[in-house]
Amino acid sequence: MSIPSIIRILLLGIILVLGGLWIGQNVNLLPVDASLNAAVYDELFRVLFSIGTILFLGILGLVLFSLIKFRRRPGQQGDGLALEGNLSLEVFWTAVPAVVVLFIGLYSFDIYDRMGGMVPLNHGAHDHQQMDMQQNIWGGIGANVEVSNTDNALAALPVEVTALQYAFLFHYPKGDIISGELHVPKGQLVSLRLEAKDVIHAFWVPEFRIKQDVIPGQPTVLNFTATKTGRYSIVCAELCGPYHGSMRSAVVVDEADDYNTWFSNNAKTTVSEA
């Protein structure tokens, strides 16, 4: 192999990596990010998207190159090169993907930890008095998302979510409010405790990048902190019957003041903390 072709391959590789990185960082396929989770998630997405783009374009390029360059021309006889294997090459393309995959796995766990996913579900921040801990929490993204950034958010805002065919109901233990829409203040940690009445549903807010199955008989937990005011869809993501597609609700993220107004207008019991 002559030196120019090595340089050519190197150059192609550099262009590929830089191009993939550029696409991964600049092509945005995701909706607006409206929670602390979402920003972290988008970081992971950009990394995965960059690596994926580099790999895919590289392999696509190799396939096309081989098909064009090594195609059988008219009149050409005979076989290709009798290459049965190459140990160092095979070790190379075993080791490199293993390292990449290991990196992705560790990195995504760092991300997951930052989302609060690695907190043991039945310890620590979940024994609010409102939460009846007789039943185990079976799954979800747990507690201990840093409750910083805000002054009044000393504790998580607990909300009990009930899913049934084909609606979500939100119960605020503090004010004994039952609402068909979820109202949360911007910047405050919200802790949902979800349980279904009939079949399995799933609670999904695309703009928050969080989803949790809502299971009958097995309460689950989901914590998030909204960062942008607005109105976002809550989508049921688990097939739950004929009207699954129309099982929608909304989460309304307000400034703290607006939220407090809504809360006191609807609260049945006066709550000192609110």
């Binding site: 396929l29 909706p31 049965e84 293993a98 747990g142 009939d198």
Partner: protein
């Protein structure tokens, strides 16, 4: 089940081939007849499943639920998934090509248990008919091909029970086939033929059959428990009666994740047969291919809970299954790099079989990359149960397995019928299939990322255009079967005569006549120790290149 005119065993001993088209409707014990029965039966169900898929895409061409009733829509999506998996891909990549090829590859005259083999096939048409007819008789199951309780317990019981029964039949057929393949590959090899000399498809089928035998019984047991819950109101999975709905998911995915490998490992094997013959090169890295298949088999059994990252799974379980799932990318990657290396420096005939194989490589790499992304818990939490997942698994099972089925049909058609297919039509078929497939499924990734869940009949109006794009792709896919069907039928009648070995391939099935006689060889089976012994040394390669005055291919 109809005209049961079995070629009795003494006829078999007399080497009397049951002739005429009726033998394809008989309880034939000839592995080649059974292979074709699987293939044609599977293709008919592919057309039915395709119609169901088309109905889904028509419904989704508009954001309203306006094409069919909502419960009918759920029946259609349940049937679409069940038919495509259990009646098309699994029987065809395993049963059809496995039965046709494995006895040739091990140098045998038939499978180890020919009668069990025929029984395994004849379980499929009644099961399939029962599944389809449930739609007309009672209304089909409505809970998706996953049949998660409590939904599957609360939807109309008759359809769900018929669904369970037919899946049990199909699972039984699959287990019989798996046992047969293991016995044939391990015990029926021609004397002198070593395991590490077998064509790669044998290894793929050995690995697949191990998965089938280990995991399908778990699905069968689970579905029987589910049917108890439905019929006699036991409470295994019914939370209302103290049962646990998530346990069902564990048991279901313990089979159904390996089922993905049951659908793609044989496809990997078929591609490993097709590429070397048309690239005129040995299969690159035979030994690492074998080890990666076996690694995929082992890892494939311990990754099931990645389908349940948003269910009730504790954090440690999420950690374990993320790592295990991600590592499947390593042996899978080895196989893809080996195929790329097989292409490199070849004399590639750009025919339909190669085009479909390379289409498979491109599609599957794409599906594999999104697969590694989905294996990451935090990533999956956003896109689980959305169109991103729908797009991902269609890239794997359609872009992967179905592309390979077409490649395999183009490759082995001359052997099966003795006639060549029309190459121009074949390449045209590839082109519109490839474009249609990518147009249909690539945009769905975006839909999932932006908030469209799967299994819905209605969606937000902002997704209308992308869904219509996807439906247009589906229409193209539907149209792409027409040139294929025409080609297959027309060529069987008056395609050019193929001869015994039109590809000058070295694997054993090409060393007999086309179509092969009953019991495969007129004399003794040939001993093929180098099924991929193609290729010339480097000096000869350079010389032929310059002899043909092609200077570009000589400077690498």
């Amino acid at each position: 089940m109809t005209a049961a005119i079995p070629p009795t065993s003494d006829e078999q001993l007399d080497h009397l081939q049951p002739t005429g088209w009726l033998r394809y409707f008989s309880f034939s014990l000839d592995h080649k007849v059974i292979g074709l029965q699987y293939l044609v039966c599977g293709f008919i169900f592919y057309l039915i499943g395709g119609l169901l898929g088309g109905a889904i895409r028509i419904e989704l061409a508009s954001p309203m639920s306006d094409f069919m009733a909502r419960d009918v829509y759920n029946q259609v999506l349940t049937l679409h998934g069940t038919v495509m998996i259990f009646l098309w891909i699994v029987p065809v990549v395993n049963g059809a090509f496995g039965n046709y090829l494995i006895p040739f590859y091990v140098g045998a005259r038939d499978m180890a248990f020919p009668r069990l083999n025929a029984v395994a096939f004849w379980m499929i048409p009644p099961a399939g008919l029962m599944l389809i007819s449930s739609y007309f008789i009672t209304g089909a199951a409505q809970s998706g091909w996953t049949a998660y309780p409590p939904l599957s317990i609360t939807t109309p019981a008759a359809g769900q029970i018929l669904w369970i029964l037919s899946v049990l039949f199909l699972g039984g057929s699959s287990i019989f086939g798996g046992i047969n393949f293991i016995a044939t590959i391990l015990k029926l090899r021609r004397p002198g033929l070593k395991l590490m000399q077998l064509p790669m498809y044998c290894w793929a089928m050995l690995g697949t059959s191990i998965l089938v035998v280990l995991s399908t019984p778990v699905l069968a047991g689970t579905l029987i428990l589910l049917s108890f819950d439905i019929v006699v109101h036991t409470g295994f999975f019914n939370p209302g009666l103290g049962g646990n709905a998530v346990v069902y998911q564990h048991l279901f995915w313990f089979y159904s994740h390996p089922a993905v490998y049951i659908m793609v490992l044989p496809a990997f094997g078929l591609v490993s047969e097709i590429l070397p013959a048309h690239c005129r090169k040995p299969l690159f890295g035979y030994t690492t291919m074998v080890y990666s298949i076996m690694t995929i088999v082992v890892l494939g059994l311990v990754v099931w809970a990645h389908h349940m990252f948003t269910s009730g799974t504790p954090p440690w379980m999420r950690l374990f299954f993320t790592i295990a799932t991600s590592f499947i990318a390593v042996p899978t990657g080895i196989k893809f790099f080996n195929w790329l290396a097989t292409l490199w420096g070849g004399r590639i005939s750009l025919n339909s079989a190669v085009l479909f194989s390379c289409g498979f490589i491109v599609n599957f790499v794409f599906g594999g990359i999104t697969g590694v992304m989905l294996a990451q818990v935090p990533f999956d939490i956003h896109v689980h149960d959305t169109y991103f997942v729908v797009a991902h698994f269609h890239y794997v099972v359609y872009g992967g397995s179905v592309f390979v089925i077409f490649a395999a049909i183009y490759h082995w058609y001359p052997k099966i019928t003795g006639r060549m297919l029309n190459e121009h039509l074949g390449r045209f078929h590839f082109l519109i299939t490839f474009i249609g497939f990518n147009l249909c499924f690539a945009p769905q990734h975006w839909l999932g990322l932006n908030g469209m869940p799967r299994r819905v009949a209605e969606y937000d109006p902002q997704f209308t255009f992308i869904n219509q794009l996807s439906s247009a792709g589906a229409l193209l896919m539907a149209l792409s079967t027409l040139p294929f069907l025409w080609n297959v039928v027309q060529s069987a009648i008056n395609g050019p005569i193929a001869g015994d070995n039109p590809w000058k391939a070295l694997t054993p099935e090409w060393l007999t006549s086309s179509p092969p006689p009953v019991e495969n060889w007129t004399g003794e089976a040939p001993l093929v120790t180098e099924p991929y012994g193609y290729g010339v040394t480097e000096e000869q390669f350079q010389k032929t290149a310059t002899n043909n005055s092609d200077r570009r291919s000589s400077d690498q």
